[in-house]
């Protein structure tokens, strides 16, 4: 049931991202600890989650709203027969809500209890390879979802703390 089935466009997109990151081979080899992060965009700003938590990236699809759930839960999507909750990351980060566009993506991440959940993001950018050195604690977080920042090409990327992000009080 959990086996990822043969590549759809979406799966290929994810593979390409991962490959181009390792091809770049950034100068990070000399450091002890290399982190791979999937970088995406919300309200024009970059955010990232560890790639090992990402199962796949899919395009927007029909969403069935679930009554009596917190606003951040956009609803349920059916992914090859699996029923998965979709979290609106914009709403979760208190950044309002927008209509889905061509660039809108759903990042399917693994939760800590062996399930998956979909995160709705404005767009997916690339996979980053960064060293420990590039990561620093966040300056504070209003929504409790960002714990660390990483610098990449003169830009601060907010690293999402998935387990805290997903601790929703229903």
């Amino acid at each position: 049931m959990s086996a990822v089935r043969p590549s759809s466009d979406e799966v290929r997109e994810w593979d390409d991202l991962a490959r181009s990151a390792s091809d770049r081979g950034d100068s990070a080899e000399s450091f002890d600890e290399i982190h791979q992060l999937l970088c995406f965009e919300i309200a024009g700003a970059p955010y990232a989650v560890p790639v090992e938590r990402v199962r796949e990236i899919v395009r927007m699809r029909p969403v069935t709203p679930v009554p009596r759930t917190p606003e951040v839960v956009r609803g349920v999507i059916s992914l090859r027969g699996e029923m998965i909750e979709l979290i609106d990351l914009r709403r979760r980060l208190d950044l309002g809500s927008i209509e889905p566009s061509r660039r809108t993506r759903i990042i399917v991440v693994k939760t800590d209890d062996d399930e998956v959940v979909g995160l709705l993001v404005d767009a997916v950018r690339e996979v980053l390879r960064v060293s420990d050195e590039a990561i620093q604690s966040a300056t504070g977080s209003d929504t409790g979802a960002v714990s660390e920042l990483c610098t990449f090409r003169d830009e601060f990327v907010s690293i999402i703390e998935l387990d805290r992000l997903l601790a929703l009080d229903a």
Partner: protein, 682 residues
């Protein structure tokens, strides 16, 4: 290195295989032994098949252990096989102390199985196993000493045709004073096996078929004659009368009555004949005819079938669309024909897959009986456990999930329900309490109930505790049912000192939660001083279910059809109100109505004059759900919803309809509960 690692891995796998197969055999032996013990204790005759089954189990275990090179188990099984063989051939009496050794051997096997894979732990058992084997051997010698062969007053030619086992059965029946007869009948060669088994079956209603032998005599070439050696309490005339086989002749071999005073068994000094070949073959066959399957593989199969079912619906839709277009009607008709035949075959696959998953409740009930035995001892309560409906079948998955809730309810019943002997006598009841477990099918559901004749639930104590916890204010009036339902509130237990047995932490709230997760409901009834009944109503299968698709505004929901009693189109003017609650006069009864739009806060106004009421219910409870329209029935596979929001009250999962469209499945049990327990006006 690599090869060694590989070998030990495959060794572990082999061990697992052995243990799981052996456990299955052992489980059967435990059940059969328990039955044997019961029948023996009841003083009646022990079913010969029971002993045969035990013998075959021991034989299978021996063969299995031999295959995996586990000598200690093989050796013990061999000794056990000896006792059982003696028992089935009548060489060992049922009153012999050897019977106790069977129980001991079964226990020892269980211990041995736990240590398989751990050489040291296994070695530690060598001595006790040897000791047990020696004791079996010693008592076997004692038990079989003495006895002499005497005439049975039966034709020698006939006797010679019998195997040792059959001869033993013959003696046994003569000893019990039964009439011995030969039933001779002629069959067509082409279909004699069917005719023969039909005849044997109808005779078995009145007696035992000891042996089936080809009968001599003139027959046309296409026919064959058989004679059945039969023992029955009926005599020739009565038997001929009783069973409906005009072609069969019945002749007496030996009149019943206890004419022969001492029919002794053959002595042990005679060389012990080989166990009959036929039964050996039978034992091997019975193993190979069943296949052990991992339940997850069945789940996968189920899911695939479920997906087929959904796709079949889309094919049907396409066919209908084509039929509606004049230029494509011909292709549409062809497709529709194929769709229909596909549909029929798919239904066949569906029910076959469902059937494979069904297991009798017996497995669970046997586990419960074992726990009750030890509970009786630990709590020092005199309780009798009565079980009925053990053959009722349920989906394996549901049965697994049911063990804990059922165990909890039974523990509660014995621990809290049944009083001490002194209390019972003082209340004018029989000293021995009784807890009954029963299972029966009601439509698409199975009802499993646990009832006792104990003191009933103490309402006052329950209320007092709810008040002290601030769950109920002192001035609220609760109906009797609402009071009883307090037992399902987390943290409430009437017994002040929670005992070891019923434990802490798991309460009736968890039971209700677990049962609800399976799409079922729990109900409680209790009469002071008379007893308590707790019933769980569960769907027979979770796999593919028919759902009614309803819509409210733009939202669609699936309602499991097994919870739907009827649907009505009603005029909104027919809806009456009481305290703001909507009520419908349904053939004289007041039916509570809930609007799904309000229930789920959908923000849809009910403007239309006509609405549909879907009458749903589980157990005895009913409510009507108001929806805008009905979209028809669909086969649905309910999937759990994955994600961080665990508590989606009101929904049991989601199902896919058409392409990528998720539809939420309404959890009727929780809606009923919310609607019927709400005290403030809606």
């Amino acid at each position: 290195m690599a090869t060694r690692g590989g070998r030990s891995r495959s060794g572990r796998k082999a061990d697992q295989e052995f243990v799981s197969e052996a456990e299955e055999i052992l489980e059967r032996m435990r059940e059969d032994y328990a039955d044997l013990d019961d029948q023996r204790a009841a003083g009646g005759e022990v079913e010969p098949d029971l002993i045969n089954r035990l013998f075959r189990s021991a034989h299978s275990l021996k063969a299995l252990a031999g295959m995996f090179g586990l000598e200690s188990i093989q050796d013990l099984a061999h000794h056990l096989e000896d006792i059982l063989d003696g028992l089935r051939l009548g060489r060992v009496s049922l009153d012999s102390p050897l019977i106790g050794l069977i129980d001991e051997a079964i226990h020892t096997f269980a211990n041995l199985l736990e240590s398989v894979g751990d050489e040291e732990a296994l070695a530690a058992f060598n001595e006790p196993v040897e000791d047990l084997a020696n004791r079996i051997e010693a008592s076997a010698k004692e038990a079989s000493a003495g006895g002499e062969l005497q005439s049975l007053e039966i034709d020698d030619a006939l006797l010679r045709a019998l195997t040792e086992y059959e001869e033993h059965r013959l003696r046994e029946n003569i000893q019990r004073g039964r009439h011995i007869m030969l039933v001779v009948s002629t069959f067509e060669i082409m279909s004699f096996d069917e005719g023969l088994s039909e005849l044997s079956d109808s005779i078995r209603e009145f007696g035992e078929v000891i042996s089936t032998l080809p009968a001599p005599g003139e027959t046309p070439e296409s026919q064959i004659r058989f004679s059945l050696l039969v023992a029955s309490d009926l005599n020739v005339a009565e038997l001929t009368e009783a069973f409906d086989f005009p072609d069969a002749e019945v002749e007496s071999v030996r009149e019943g009555g206890l004419a022969v005073e001492a029919i002794a068994e053959p002595s042990a000094s005679e060389p012990a004949p080989q166990a009959p070949l036929a039964s050996e073959q039978e034992s091997l066959r019975s193993i190979s005819e069943t296949v052990r399957v991992d339940i997850h593989k069945l789940d996968e199969l189920m899911i695939l079938v479920g997906e087929f079912v959904i796709q079949r619906a889309s094919i049907g839709e396409i066919a209908a669309r084509l039929l509606a277009q004049p230029q494509n009607a011909k292709i549409g008709a062809e497709l529709s024909k194929i769709h229909k035949s596909f549909d029929r075959k798919l239904k066949g696959i569906q029910s076959a897959v469902l059937e494979v998953r069904m297991v009798p409740m017996r497995q669970v009930f046997d586990k419960v009986s074992r726990v009750v035995r030890s509970l009786r001892r630990d709590l020092q309560k005199d309780v009798r456990l009565e079980v009925s409906g053990a053959d009722t079948e349920l989906d394996k998955l549901i049965v697994e999930e049911l063990v804990d809730p059922l165990m909890h309810i039974v523990r509660n019943s014995i621990d809290h329900g049944i009083e001490s002997v002194e209390e019972r006598l003082a209340a004018g009841k029989a000293a021995q309490g009784c807890t009954k477990i029963s299972a029966f099918q009601r439509g698409n559901h199975v009802v499993i109930s646990v009832s006792d004749d104990g003191k009933g639930i103490d309402r006052a104590a329950l209320l007092a505790r709810a008040e002290s916890l601030g769950l109920v204010s002192a001035d609220t009036e609760l109906s009797d049912r609402e009071t009883l339902n307090l037992i399902f509130v987390p943290g409430l237990s009437t017994q002040v000192g929670v005992s070891e047995t019923s434990g802490r932490g798991v309460g009736m709230d968890v039971v209700r939660e677990n049962v609800a997760a399976l799409g079922g409901a729990v109900e409680v009834e209790s009469i002071p001083d008379r007893g308590t009944t707790i019933s769980m109503t569960l769907p027979i299968t979770l796999a593919i279910i028919q759902s009614l698709i309803v819509s409210v505004g733009e939202h669609r929901f699936a309602i499991p059809i097994n919870a739907v009693h009827e649907t009505l189109l009603i005029d909104t003017s027919e809806i009456q109100r009481s305290e703001g609650r909507k009520i419908l006069n349904l053939r004289g009864d007041a039916l509570l109505l809930r609007s799904l739009a309000e229930e789920f806060e959908l923000g849809v106004s009910e403007s239309s004059e006509k609405q549909f009421a879907v009458i749903v219910g589980l157990g005895e409870q009913r409510i009507g759900l108001l929806v805008d329209s009905l979209e028809g029935q669909q086969d649905t596979v309910i999937k759990p919803i994955q994600g961080p929001v665990k508590n989606m009250r009101g929904f049991s999962g989601a199902t896919e309809l058409g392409d990528q469209d998720a539809v939420l499945v309404v959890d009727i049990a929780s809606l009923l509960e919310d609607a019927l327990s709400r005290k403030e006006s809606a």
